[in-house]
Every structure is written in structure tokens, then in C-alpha cells.
């Protein structure tokens, strides 16, 4: 297992040098600048809009970073040949895949944590106190990012970087537009192929919307612990399944 951590650490170092992190800085600056425009609203509306804006940014940044980093990690290592000396070491292929996933997920989690701290401070400036639920919402945003990363890594083990990124983005889109609703629409279709597609999509694609706690944060609604535990378990299981599939596919792949 030591080799998994070694590869994860290398992956974090590698990811942190990529230019996608400049996007994060831009997002932070955009939100901080945008928050000054909210002063035209009443105090209550302003705080709600600010929280909405912050959570949207965290979720969006998490998804973009996950897709960007996870779909390029393994294909880039193969294309640049840096994978050869690593795989020539006494490590199993799954160590490498799991290490790459952990490294990517940790990088995105760090980015989300950094955004959360900045936004927490911003909300504090406007609200006068820290909303502790933002931490819970950020944690579930990290979990959503982990699921997206796992899916992107799985796709990247058998496709090119571009195809993996495109497919991951489609999974993200389908996953966030309430997949249950989508499948119901397809199931009502008279076309049997569409019905089958609806069923398959419903069961295979991740339901990313369940990780989005933005509404509860904005409106101050309480979320039952049981629901949070269920969603957490779902996220962990889905991620484990996807990474397991990635390891299995990569085990059979010739590099």
C-alpha cells in the first residue's frame, strides 16, 4: 500500500503544477468582485445570493478540476512515457490507478477547501458570523468531485484524453440534471430503445444532484443526518466501484 501513497503524492505534486489552478484564482476573484455588486439587494437576499454564488462556484470548480485532472492523468503519463519506469517497479497495476485517483481527488479536495475558506471569510464579512453548514456542503462537494474523478479515471483507462474528458463532462451533465427525471422522461417514450436507455442511464450514471446541498445552505434548511449518511455511503460506494472498474480495465491494458 506504500506505493499507492507514493504515486498519490507524485500525482498531487504533478497536478498542483498544472495551469488549471489559475482558473481557481480567477473564480475566487470573480466571486469576491461579484459580491460587491450584491449590495443593491436587501440584507437577507444578499446573504442568500452570496451563499448561492459561493456554492455554485465550489461545485463548478470541483467538477472542472476533477474532469480536467482525472481524464488527463493516466493518458498523459502513457503518452509522455513517464509511466514506464513506474510500472517497471514491483507494484501492481491497481496500485498505480488507485494512487492516481487518490492524488487527483486529494488535489481537488484541497482546491475546494481553499475556495471554502475564502468564501467562508467572504460570507463572514457580509453576515458577521460563520455558517458551519458551509463546511458540510463543501465536504459533499468534495465527495461529488471524487465521484466525477473516479468516473473520469475509469474512462481514461481505455480512451484518449479528449474522449475521456468529453464523456466525463457528459456524465457530469446527465448526473446533475436530475437523472431520475431524465430516466422517467425516457421511460415514457414509446420507443423501446429510448426506454432501455433510460433504465440503463438511471442505474449506471451517478446521481450527482444528491451531493448538492446548496439549497439547504442558502435557505437554512436542516438536512437529516440519516440522509447525509446515505448520500455519503452512496458516494463512497460509487467511487470505489468506479475506481475498481478502472483498475480492472487498466490491468488488462497494454502500455
Amino acid at each position: 500500500m506504500k506505493s499507492v501513497w507514493v504515486i498519490a503524492r507524485l500525482s498531487i505534486l504533478e497536478n498542483s503544477r498544472k495551469q488549471v489552478f489559475h482558473v481557481l484564482c480567477l473564480i475566487m476573484l470573480a466571486v469576491i468582485a461579484g459580491s460587491t455588486l450584491l449590495s443593491i439587494f436587501t440584507e437577507g437576499v444578499k446573504i442568500k445570493m452570496l451563499k448561492d454564488l459561493c456554492m455554485t462556484c465550489i461545485l463548478f470548480a470541483g467538477a472542472v478540476l476533477s474532469i480536467g485532472l482525472a481524464s488527463t492523468g493516466i493518458p498523459n503519463d502513457i503518452d509522455s512515457r513517464v509511466v514506464y519506469p513506474i510500472l517497471a517497479r514491483p507494484i501492481a497495476r491497481w496500485h498505480y490507478v488507485f494512487g492516481k485517483f487518490l492524488g487527483t481527488a486529494a488535489t481537488v479536495a484541497l482546491a475546494i477547501a481553499a475556495l471554502s475558506v475564502v468564501f467562508c471569510a467572504l460570507i463572514y464579512c457580509h453576515q458577521g458570523h460563520i455558517d458551519s453548514f458551509l463546511a458540510t456542503a463543501a465536504l459533499f462537494a468534495m465527495l461529488e468531485a471524487a465521484v466525477i474523478s473516479a468516473v473520469a479515471i475509469t474512462l481514461s483507462t481505455f480512451t484518449s484524453t479528449a474522449v475521456a474528458a468529453l464523456l466525463s463532462f457528459m456524465v457530469y451533465l446527465f448526473g446533475t440534471i436530475k437523472i431520475g427525471y431524465l430516466s422517467k422522461v425516457l421511460e415514457k417514450s414509446p420507443n423501446s430503445i429510448a426506454k432501455t436507455c433510460g433504465t440503463v442511464l438511471y442505474h449506471v450514471l451517478p446521481n450527482l444532484e444528491c451531493f448538492n446541498l446548496k439549497a439547504a445552505l442558502v435557505h437554512g434548511n436542516s438536512v437529516p443526518i440519516s440522509y447525509l449518511l446515505l448520500v455519503f455511503s452512496y458516494g463512497v460506494c460509487y467511487t470505489a466501484f468506479a475506481v475498481g472498474a478502472a483498475a480492472l480495465i487498466f490491468r488488462g491494458r497494454e502500455v
Partner: protein
């Protein structure tokens, strides 16, 4: 202990776009004994890299088997005994040699407390301590190659698989690597060396395998491969080329220089050549044995 490398009837066929295929290896059987420097030669596309990739489990054979120290190549644990230098090694450019080697030492399973000394030893062996903390991206091609060799040496592996280890090195660097390989052999390491520098292979290797189109065409000590075609070179005074035409039937190669003639013939035809030259009244100046170089043998075998 089992032999470091053993392949038995190893074949690999690549699928190409469409229904086309390309046979990269065709029934390759080689055995690399312990403690030797083994030269693996072949023209481009002969199947050298494919063989190395199979040995390291990057790709799987279509048929046949390959083993390292008696264990199947798909067993990751066996690679604890192997150090690998890829052709034109690429590493993460932001890493420093010490960081890269520490990473590989950890991947080898070296305990954390022993990593530092393993890294220092490997860097010292390739004379890279001066550049230990320079990011790899800022190193020249030759220095990067040395880092690659150091990386292969981390963990003191029993078997070293080196793909073009002197590529990109200057003459001093090449000499240094040659000395290092001899030293490693003395220490009991087995070295599998794939190289295009035939003079290097000739001077270093105990056993040489030449492959062509994925099949083995020659195997044995360099002397054995070369000896098969030794030539006799005969120097005489100059003569009219017309009168020498009768020598052509012996398969004699004739070279006319300003002050002498050079005749090149296989040893078994030397006696007939001497008689013919005597009949022509040509005075012998010198006779010497021309040993075929490994390069000539390679060109003959691989052409």
C-alpha cells in the same frame, strides 16, 4: 537460483487498424545466464523493445512464455529484482534527481530510513551528486540519461534491463557507463543491454543475441558470432586488373590502390588464391587475417 531471463517460443502479434496485424515477435527463445552482460541486438523494428516490454509486463505475449528468475513476468513481486532504464527516459521534469530516486526507492519497497543512503549511492555511481538538487527539466540529455541509470540502480537490483544506456552521452559519459557496467558485472549483477552501438556491445558483452523480424538469427559469445566468417587479406604489388579477372571465380574481392593490390578471400579459398597469385607472378607483400567485427557480423545477419 533460476536464470534471470528465460523466454520460450515467445510471439507477439499487434492488431493494426482494420483487420491487419503485424508480427513483432516470432517464436523467440533466449536464456540469459546469471552474472553476464547480455547484448540484445537487432535492426529497428526487429522486436527488441517488444521483448523488453513483455519482460516487464507492459504488454502480454500472444503465445509463448517469459520468466524472470523463474517467475512469470506478470508477478509484480519479481520486479523487485529488476532495474529498468527505458530508451530516452522521460521523468517528471519538476522533480529533482534526489526526489525521483527517493520515489523509486519507496516504490521498490526500501524502508524509509534506508531511502536516503540508497539514493546517495545510486547518484554517486553515476557521478551525479553535483546535480542532485537540480530539477530534471533543467538537465541536459546526457545528464538526464545518467539520472535514468541511477534510477535503474536504486535498490541494487540483480538484473538490469538497459535500453540504449549510452544514448545521448558524451565520450566521457559513455566511458563512465562502460566502466560502471563492468563494475556491476563484477559485483554479480546480470545486465541485459539493448544497444545500437555495436563496438560497445562487442567490448562489453559476454553473450549476444541478434534478432531479425522477431526471430533469433544468432546467439552466443561475440567471438563465436564473428568467427564464422574470418577473411584472409593478401597484399601484393600492383598488377594489370585484366589479368586478375580469372581470380573472380574464387569469390575474391579485389581492391586496387596506387602502390599495391589487396585481395580478400575466405580462409578455405586462401590456398587457391596463393597458387593463382604465384602463377601470375605477383610478389606477396603481406598476409593478414581479417577478423570480422561484430558490426560486420550484425550487418550480415540482420540485412
Amino acid at each position: 537460483m533460476a536464470v534471470p531471463i528465460l523466454t520460450d517460443n515467445l510471439s507477439k502479434t499487434y492488431k493494426l487498424p482494420g483487420k491487419q496485424t503485424r508480427k513483432a515477435l516470432d517464436g523467440l527463445s533466449i536464456e540469459v545466464p546469471e552474472g553476464v552482460i547480455f547484448g540484445f541486438l537487432g535492426p529497428n523494428g526487429a522486436g527488441k523493445t517488444t521483448t523488453i516490454k513483455i519482460l516487464l509486463d507492459f504488454i502480454r505475449p500472444t503465445s509463448g512464455t517469459a520468466s524472470l528468475f523463474g517467475q512469470s513476468t506478470d508477478n509484480p513481486a519479481v520486479r523487485r529484482l529488476v532495474g529498468y532504464l527505458p530508451e530516452q527516459p522521460y521523468f517528471h521534469k519538476f522533480l529533482k534527481p534526489t526526489e525521483l530516486l527517493s520515489l523509486h526507492a519507496s516504490l521498490c519497497g526500501i524502508p524509509s530510513r534506508a531511502v536516503k543512503s540508497a539514493v546517495t549511492t545510486a547518484l554517486e555511481r553515476v557521478a551525479m551528486t553535483h546535480y542532485a538538487d537540480t530539477p530534471i527539466g533543467k538537465l541536459s540529455k546526457g545528464l538526464t540519461q545518467r539520472v535514468g541509470i541511477a534510477q535503474a540502480l536504486v535498490g541494487n537490483p540483480k538484473l538490469l534491463i538497459l535500453d540504449e544506456p549510452t544514448s545521448g552521452l558524451d565520450p566521457i559519459g559513455r566511458r563512465h557507463v562502460r566502466d560502471l557496467l563492468i563494475e556491476l558485472k563484477r559485483e554479480g549483477h546480470t545486465i541485459f543491454l539493448s544497444s545500437h552501438l555495436l563496438s560497445e556491445v562487442e567490448n562489453l558483452c559476454d553473450i549476444v543475441a541478434v534478432i531479425k523480424n522477431g526471430s533469433l538469427v544468432a546467439f552466443g559469445p561475440p567471438e563465436q558470432i564473428r568467427n564464422a566468417t574470418t577473411y584472409i587479406r593478401v597484399y601484393t604489388q600492383t598488377a594489370e586488373i585484366d589479368c586478375l579477372e580469372r581470380l573472380r571465380f574464387l569469390g575474391v574481392q579485389i581492391e586496387q590502390q596506387t602502390d599495391r593490390m589487396i585481395f580478400r578471400v575466405e580462409p578455405e579459398k586462401a590456398y587457391e588464391l596463393f597458387r593463382a597469385l604465384e602463377q601470375l607472378g605477383l610478389q606477396l607483400l603481406r598476409v593478414e587475417t581479417e577478423r570480422e567485427s561484430l558490426e560486420e557480423a550484425f550487418l550480415r545477419l540482420a540485412a
